[in-house]
């Protein structure tokens, strides 16, 4: 595949790093030195030019590519580049990066003529919600903009008898969820109604965020669900994290140093409690009992501030800290200093684009159990032979439909629901069967 990458910054170079082995890549940027740096490390073609110039894009050879990724740090450049790419190379798939949630909404509503929009803030927020969203989870992946979660659990001794030790058809499983797989030792099975979950197993569950949380509570009754977090920094990253966590029913407090911005955040998020204070104000942390929160997220613009504020929060007794590391090198520094988890927004953005690049039709591919099983997110074609058939009538060929997304809303189908053309289907399948499943749909 020929890939055209616009922007050779942190996101661009991460994408190049992941894709340069298997694909022919051309990188365009206005800064010559960045291109030199990238060309010295990877075997890619470069072109010095402007992403907003139709002439430059044409001269660089955008006509012949299969995939265009516009991932500069500026939204406007990415939007214009995406627009020109659509004109110059109508058959190429276009991906743009944005930091504005409004563009994501526009794209979902079909108002933005690109194939995929990745928002750094949203990806960061999803990454964080994966970390604190579900207790006892080994790994969580979100699909359909967070409406569908695929979670891998360790089943512990003392797990609730409602779901463990009895056949699945009798289990009182949370609503809107399905057990996609049971992993026992080296064996993995797609379970039927007569199969039983046992302590010591690992299971994969597909379901709504609420159902995932309920599963967590059922499988490890001792572990606390995160119900209350404090976010330091109410900028775009912090506000997006806050809104994603609020949508999952987690109580959020936001600490923002700028008075104006604090008011904006408070107005935009009625359910969050917003403070106009700095994260390094000892009196404030004491007065508001910040130390009693379950987790704190440091999303200020300055990595150094995040680091210090996190340390101070730990002094106050915060048990779990998550730092947003804007610079790649900060991830190591944060971990060294004892911050529990670090998230680099550019890295998660790049990861999301890379996932998409692997197969544009599957919007997200989660790899579970060391590549043996895959979760596919496929849009059904009119020609699929399963369109119009009921779910209970579909044969199980080592695949399980966990959820469908119809008109932007996730549905967790029951036996009598009917698959329609244009549905986005989230399928759990063995890697070996994946191409066949994609083909069938």
């Amino acid at each position: 595949m020929r890939i055209f990458v616009i922007g050779a910054g942190q996101v661009g170079s991460t994408i190049v790093e992941a894709l340069h082995h298997d694909h022919a890549i051309l990188v365009l940027d206005t800064e010559g030195h960045r291109l030199t740096a990238i060309a010295n490390r990877y075997d890619v073609a470069t072109y010095e030019g402007d992403g907003t110039s139709q002439h430059d894009l044409a001269a660089a050879g955008i006509k012949d590519v299969d995939l265009v990724i516009a991932c500069t740090s500026r939204d406007e450049v990415n939007l214009v580049a995406g627009m020109f790419a659509r004109r110059e190379a109508p058959r190429a798939t276009t991906v743009i990066r944005t930091s504005n949630l409004e563009y994501v909404d526009l794209w979902r509503a079909g108002q933005l003529d690109v194939d995929f929009v990745v928002c750094s803030e949203l990806e960061t927020a999803h990454a964080i919600s994966r970390i604190i969203g579900v207790p006892a989870a080994r790994q969580t992946d979100v699909f359909a903009e967070g409406q569908v979660q695929i979670v891998e659990f360790d089943v512990q001794e003392g797990a609730s008898g409602d779901v463990v030790g009895i056949p699945l058809r009798d289990a009182k499983a949370p609503r809107d969820s399905k057990v996609a797989a049971i992993i026992r030792g080296s064996e993995m099975l797609l379970p039927g109604g007569e199969d039983v979950i046992r302590p010591g197993d690992r299971i994969v569950v597909i379901g709504s965020p609420q159902a995932a949380k309920e599963w967590g509570a059922l499988l490890s009754p001792g572990e606390a669900t995160v119900r209350d977090v404090v976010i330091f920094g109410g900028g775009r990253v912090g506000a997006t994290i806050a809104s994603v966590l609020l949508s999952q029913g987690i109580g959020v407090r936001v600490v923002e140093a700028s008075k104006e911005r604090a008011l904006q955040v408070a107005e935009a998020l009625p359910d969050a409690r917003v403070y106009n204070a700095t994260g390094i104000d000892d009196d404030f942390l004491e007065r508001e009992r910040i130390g009693k929160t379950q987790a704190a997220i440091f999303a200020m613009r300055d990595d150094a501030k995040n680091l210090y504020a996190a340390s101070l929060a730990e002094v106050h007794g915060v048990p779990f800290t998550i730092g947003i590391a804007h610079e790649a090198v900060s991830v190591a520094a944060f971990e060294h200093a004892g911050i529990d988890v670090s998230v680099n927004p550019r890295a998660v953005t790049a990861e999301e684009i890379i996932r998409f690049a692997h197969d544009p039709r599957t919007q997200q591919v989660a790899l579970l159990e060391g590549n043996r099983y895959e979760v596919l997110d496929v849009t059904t074609r009119d020609t699929s032979r399963y369109v119009g058939s009921r779910f209970r009538d579909m044969p199980i060929h080592g695949a399980l439909i966990g959820a469908i997304v119809r008109n932007g809303t996730a549905i967790f189908p029951h036996g009598d629901d009917v698959l329609q053309s244009g549905d986005r289907v989230i399928v759990f399948t063995e890697s070996a069967d994946a191409p066949r499943v994609v083909e069938a749909l």
């Binding site: 408070a266 403070y275 106009n276 508001e288």
Partner: protein, 511 residues
């Protein structure tokens, strides 16, 4: 410096308000206002009563308006924000004067004193409903209808009507209209003001017609013998603008229970925000109505007040059964919406009931309705501000925007509301003091609560007070100073204080 420059600067101008522009606009308004006298003139013609008092009053008003307009036309500039306050305030005073002319010409003995006639005029146009009339038999049908009609004109407002009709007010009318429309400017007016004004008046006229029809049909069906077409129109004119004048000495008491229930319902409707009502009913967006915080609180308070008064009326043995429920509900809604109708002489009720009604005088209806007093939305927002204060006492850093129906309310609006409430209380206290002192000097028999109620009732455009100024009595026995005070309170109260008080500041005139 070049020689001519200093000369061009000219002398210092001390007055920054464009009086000519103000006079010019008031003149235009007066010119058209005079036409309103044609309606009672037609009524007079129908009942074979003298027509000349109305024609003369109309001619004087239009004539003065025309002269004012012509005289100031040459030097008149643009009517800006400053001039707007003056126009709104003075128009109210002049309109009351216009209303009083027919009383002077044909009101007989009880209205021929200029102060009494002016009080009656101001009471009408401010939709207060406080009256000096004692002998209703002595007034002609056309004069009585004129009283009702002034309330109807004043209810939705002369300026709002002018904005809807006069092309001239398309520019600069917004702020004047906002001054005249009751309630704080929480959301601003969403549409173009001309459309808003037309929408308000359309709904207003439609509701009035509906009320007339509902009442008249009670008469036609023989349910209420006294409810003639004349009475139906007269009372619709007074119910929808929550005025309170009646053509009968015993207010609504003489009408049938069905009539009283229907009037209560329309009073309640008059207290709803008309813009909200328009969007909810005409544009079929019922969810807006169901979700509106102010409307919900208004209806809840209406219900609680009705129950509280009913329980006491029943408990004290004043009435029982359906009569108790009807009397309780009617009086509670009448006072809450600052209408001032009565189905029972509540001036004779025991102290606890009087205190309940007295408390209701300070509530009012919704913003953008025809009611007076403080308005529900202000109470609602002040309550929210107080809750925020308590929260911030514990957590000083917490940022809590005040929301109304989900959207944040500007801090300036909240300050303006706090200022309004303080001014309102101030005017009420000073008004009470003046009326109290005057009553003591001129030997008028008013108790402490009566004095406070008269002041609150005038300021809130409610109407009747307690004691000798009760709903079935009249304000005629009050001293002249008290009457002047009442006029001022009604004037200030109808315009919601600020547009008038701002005229008293030095900055308004000088810089």
């Amino acid at each position: 410096m070049p020689q001519g420059a200093a000369r061009r600067i000219g002398p210092r101008r001390r007055l920054v308000v464009d009086l000519a522009a103000t006079a010019n606009l008031i003149g235009t308004l007066g010119k058209y206002l005079g036409v309103a006298a044609l309606f009672p003139a037609a009524v007079a013609l129908w009942y074979r009563e003298p027509v000349w008092p109305f024609l003369l009053a109309g001619a004087i008003t239009s004539g003065v308006g025309l002269i004012l307009e012509r005289a100031s036309a040459r030097s008149a500039g643009h009517v800006g924000v400053r001039e707007g306050f003056l126009v709104v305030s003075l128009t109210m005073l002049l309109t009351a004067g216009f209303a009083s002319l027919p009383y002077l010409f044909a009101g007989g003995e009880q209205l021929d004193h200029p102060l009494d006639a002016y009080l009656e005029g101001m009471s009408g146009f401010s939709t207060t409903g406080a009256s000096v009339v004692t002998d209703y038999e002595g007034l002609s049908k056309s004069i009585l209808m004129w009283r009702q009609f002034t309330q109807w004109l004043g209810g939705m407002g002369i300026i709002v009507l002018a904005v809807a009709i006069l092309p001239r007010l398309r520019v600069g009318g917004r702020q004047m209209m906002e001054s005249e429309l009751p309630g704080p400017e929480v959301a601003g007016l969403p549409e173009r003001i001309r459309e808003t004004a037309r929408m308000l008046w359309t709904l207003y006229v439609a509701l009035t017609l509906l009320a007339t029809l509902a009442l008249a049909s009670l008469g036609w069906l023989g349910i209420d013998e006294r409810m003639t077409e004349y009475q139906a129109l007269a009372h619709a004119f007074s119910t929808i603008p929550t005025g309170g004048f009646s053509t009968e000495p015993d207010s609504m008491a003489g009408f049938s229970p069905e009539t009283q229930w229907i009037v209560a319902l329309f009073m309640l409707l008059g207290g709803v925000n008309f813009m909200l009502l328009y969007r909810g009913l005409v544009r079929r967006r019922a969810r807006l109505l169901a979700r509106d915080e102010e409307l919900r609180l208004y209806l809840a308070l209406g219900l609680v007040a009705s129950i509280a008064v009913t329980v006491q009326v029943w408990g004290y043995g004043i009435a029982s059964g359906e009569t108790a429920i009807r009397d309780g509900t009617f009086q509670a809604i009448s006072v809450l919406t600052t209408t001032g109708y009565a189905t029972a002489d509540f001036a004779l009720w025991p102290m606890l009931l009087l205190l309940t009604l007295f408390g209701l005088m300070f509530l009012g209806g919704s913003a953008g309705s025809t009611t007076g007093s403080v308005k529900i939305v202000r109470h609602l927002l002040v309550g929210k501000v107080l809750r925020r204060e308590l929260d911030q006492t514990v957590s000083p850093e917490v940022v809590l925007p005040i929301r109304l129906n989900g959207s944040p309310v500007d801090e300036r609006t909240l300050r303006a509301i706090a200022a309004f409430i303080l001014l309102y209380i101030g005017f009420w206290v000073v008004g009470s003091a003046v009326i109290g002192i005057d009553s003591a000097i001129s030997n008028v028999d008013l108790g402490t609560l009566d004095v406070m109620a008269v002041s609150a009732s005038a300021l809130g455009n409610g109407g009747p007070g307690f004691g000798i100024t009760g709903p079935l009595a009249s304000f005629a026995p009050l001293g002249d100073v008290s009457k002047v005070t009442m006029i001022l309170l009604m004037w200030v109260g109808r315009l919601e204080i600020v547009p008038v008080v701002v005229l008293l500041t030095r900055n308004y005139w000088r810089r």
